[in-house]
Subunit: 338 residues, 2 copies
């Protein structure tokens, strides 16, 4: 008899395993108790469950506890509305809604406009917690469109030579439809995800050398000090420049509108229908061929394959849909107690 | 009496100092002798002189010798033509022209269409030598538009775990208008510029550890072996993924059209009029404020300022316009002998 492959996630006395549907129900109920209407609770939870399925356990249901504790959640929310619109663009007022909702509306509108006009640019501001950028980009790619998405945020990242954060963790995601699964590239431009810094602080783990700085701009490995300071960009000046460009693209998305601050949250979406350039039905096949050509690269010894962006996450998602997802018991209990 | 600041570039027995106009005349005459019409010779030379002014000496007039020696230059050229067009897009056939010409036509069209429609995406294929990407992006930013430009190329870069190049050096450039000079971010996604690899081979200099691989995919510091192999992407998997995304954006630009190859040259331009999102006259001021805020970051000891992307190059350009540019005597003589 063939041996069963090991589960992706280990169970333990402090964990609870749930089907995606059970976890979804728990998330939606918690958010409704926080005052979210059912449709928004469903939009937020869908992403949080997808994050867990793709292997981002701490970007999943625990985020509802973070949302519950955030001062912005206690400030009034307005529906996401259109401030300015053309056939190829829209500037959205995020209405102090979490990014899970506001950026989702931006991605929806990018799809609608690009389907009609061939290309669209959408900006969203007055929001927080942009969410997992790959989620929105996959959504746009599944609509048959090429997507570029950037998200600027408030300062967490020190520019080279500076002693105070001046840039957000500023992620960029780029997605492509193919004949198979979409291909989605998604990175943060900080040397460490901010959520990971917070987790290190919670668990008392050190921050790697050269990454973290305290409130006075002195290098430190103490995650609790880094939380009050910031981290450096990835890849030196190349990463710094990209982070700077994403902060500027945030301005284009309206980042400075809500509070008059040029260093603030701005989510930008560009969606392109490949048919306007290549004609209908051409791009997806070429994209699949590019993936095949990359995977056909001869391998160094000991390497079992060339990785394609998002491939691992999508494999894991398929497995966890069967195996279920693992949550910390304390998270489940805290959500039930909200 | 105040001391004169040192010249940016040193003179020597093997160099010639020229005014930009003298260098321009030399470049245009050489290209006309190679068969380029006057208008195209002027377009190519304008960029090559700008490259020298900005400090990229080897991306300047020596490139005319490289063009003269390239087999593609001996193949027939056709005028750059439009294959497919909408109010927001154009796919251009580069006509086997050097990128200096073909990408310039793409940037021009991106400006024209974005000025009318608010946003535009332009693809250019059947070309080679994309040129300095910052040049086109600055041109679009000076027209008051935000620009994103990527250029895919034929394989020079090994994906992690692979033993053969499968990606181009795939640069990305992003540019922004401001109330002062435009801000232009421009990087290659290879760990080393290919032109630099060729120069190291010419000069017999070693390639840094971990960067270069020979034709068999074995690590080597010998630049002459690396020329037959390739280099790794910058920044590990984050850089690899970006390079992969740029190869895919190249498909959108038509890379696979001329030769049916998905790993080939494709230059993509996206130009956005910020007014469609923010209303007229808003973005440039916010961009200048972002630059000021970045530069106001408190400095670590020994640091004399926060660098803004393209700032150094533009300062040097202003100085070299006065001081002149320095060319190798052998380059000048070879150009005159063409």
């Amino acid at each position: 008899m063939a041996q069963q492959p090991a589960l992706l996630d280990a169970d333990g006395p402090d964990t609870v395993r749930m089907t995606p549907d059970e976890a979804r129900a728990l998330g939606e109920e918690s958010l409704c108790r926080l005052g979210y209407p059912q449709d928004e609770a469903a939009i937020i939870t869908d992403q949080l469950i997808d994050n867990a399925l793709c292997g981002y356990r701490f970007a999943s249901l625990p985020r509802i506890l973070a949302i519950a504790g955030d001062e912005k959640t206690r400030q009034p929310r307005r529906p996401v509305t259109v401030i300015r619109e053309t056939p190829v663009s829209a500037l959205l007022d995020g209405g102090n809604n979490v990014g899970y909702v506001a950026a989702y509306r931006g991605a929806e509108m990018a799809i609608d406009k690009a389907k009609v006009s061939g290309i669209a640019v959408i900006g969203v501001s007055d929001s927080y917690y942009s969410g997992r950028n790959a989620y929105y980009v996959e959504m746009i790619a599944r609509a048959g469109l090429v997507a570029i998405h950037t998200a600027s945020a408030k300062p967490r990242v020190l520019p080279p030579g500076g002693t105070r954060p001046a840039l957000g963790t500023n992620p960029i995601a780029i997605g492509f439809p193919s004949e198979g699964e979409p291909v989605v590239y998604d990175i943060g431009t900080a040397s460490m995800m901010w959520g990971e810094v917070l987790l290190h602080a919670q668990l008392g783990l050190p921050i790697p050398d050269g990454v973290g700085f305290d409130a006075a701009g002195q290098p430190t490995a103490d995650a609790n000090e880094v939380v009050k300071g910031g981290v450096v960009p990835f890849a030196g000046h190349k990463g710094y420049g990209l982070s700077f460009a994403i902060q500027a693209l945030g301005l284009l998305a309206g980042a400075a509108i809500p509070r008059g601050q040029v260093q603030d949250y701005g989510f930008l979406f560009i969606a392109i229908d490949p048919a306007i350039l290549l004609g209908p039905g051409v791009f997806a096949g070429q994209m699949s061929e590019l993936v095949e050509r990359m995977k056909a690269t001869p391998l160094a010894s000991g390497v079992d394959g060339i990785r394609i962006p998002s491939e691992r996450a999508f494999h894991e998602r398929a497995r966890r849909r069967e195996e279920g997802i693992v949550l910390d018991r304390v998270v489940v209990e805290s959500l039930r107690a909200l």
